[in-house]
C-alpha cells in the first residue's frame, strides 16, 4: 500500500488535535472499515474516537465512501462525523 494523507474534520479533527497525518498502512488494510480498525489498534485517542464506526464517515479522493469501499491507490482519505451545517 502506498502512503496516504489522512485528513480530519469537525469534532473529530478537534478531538484528535490535528488536521491530518500521513500514514503507511500494511497491505491487508484495503477498505475504509479496515482503515478504521487499523487506526483504532494504534490506541488512544484513536480507539475511542474511531471504533464506533456508526459515528464516523469517510471520503476517498473527495468522494463519500462506505465502510466496504476500497481506498486502494488513493492519495487522500478524509474522516469526519456526519456532516451538516444548516
Amino acid at each position: 500500500m502506498a502512503i496516504v494523507d489522512l485528513v480530519y474534520f469537525g469534532s473529530l479533527r478537534e478531538a484528535l488535535g490535528r488536521d491530518g497525518e500521513r500514514i503507511d498502512p500494511p497491505s491487508h488494510v484495503l477498505t475504509v472499515e479496515d482503515l478504521l480498525n487499523w487506526m483504532s489498534e494504534r490506541g488512544e485517542p484513536y480507539r475511542s474516537l474511531l471504533s464506533d464506526h456508526g459515528r464516523i464517515r469517510a471520503a476517498v479522493e473527495r468522494e463519500h465512501a462506505g465502510p466496504g469501499d476500497s481506498f486502494f491507490g488513493a492519495q487522500e482519505v478524509a474522516l469526519f462525523p456526519p456532516p451538516g451545517a444548516t
Partner: protein
C-alpha cells in the same frame, strides 16, 4: 445553468431569485438556510472540507438536473463564523413545472444537509463551544 459556490462572503437571496427568474421559466423554488440556535448560543462556526465541498455540491446539482426538468440550479454554501440570523445556505431551482421546481429544491436542500462536507459548531456565552454532529438518530452530541 448550474452555478455552485462555496464562499465566506454573504450573498443576496433576491439577486439569486432574479437570476433564476431571468431564465424565463414559470417557477423558481428556493430554500434559504439561516443560522438559528437555542438558548445561550452566541455564534456559529461552519467548518468545511475545501477540496471536496464544491465538487460534492456539483454532484448534488447534477443529480437533481438528471431527475427533474430544470432550467437552472444555484447552490451557495458559506463557511466561517456567523451571528444568529445570518444567511448560510441558498438553494434555488427554476423550471417550467412548479411541482418539479419545488421537489427539486427540497431534494437539493436535503442532499446538501446530509452530504455536503460542512460541520457546525456552536459557541456558547460562557466561552465554551459544542459541535452539532447530526448523528443518524438526529441527536446532537456535545463534544
Amino acid at each position: 445553468m448550474i452555478d455552485v459556490r462555496v464562499q465566506s462572503a454573504d450573498f443576496d437571496p433576491g439577486r439569486q431569485l432574479e437570476r433564476l427568474r431571468e431564465l424565463g421559466r414559470g417557477a423558481v423554488a428556493s430554500l434559504l438556510g439561516i443560522a438559528e440556535a437555542d438558548g445561550d448560543v452566541t455564534s456559529i462556526v461552519v467548518e468545511h472540507y475545501a477540496a471536496m465541498a464544491r465538487v460534492e455540491l456539483g454532484r448534488i446539482a447534477d443529480e437533481a438536473q438528471g431527475r427533474w426538468p430544470l432550467s437552472g440550479i444555484i447552490l451557495i454554501h458559506r463557511h466561517g463564523s456567523f451571528g444568529l440570523g445570518d444567511r448560510i445556505l441558498f438553494v434555488g431551482a427554476a423550471s417550467s413545472d412548479h411541482q418539479a421546481a419545488a421537489e427539486a429544491c427540497a431534494y437539493l436542500a436535503r442532499s446538501v444537509r446530509e452530504r455536503a462536507p460542512f460541520w457546525r459548531k456552536e459557541r456558547l456565552a460562557g466561552g465554551t463551544s459544542r459541535w452539532t454532529e447530526r448523528l443518524p438518530s438526529a441527536a446532537r452530541q456535545p463534544v
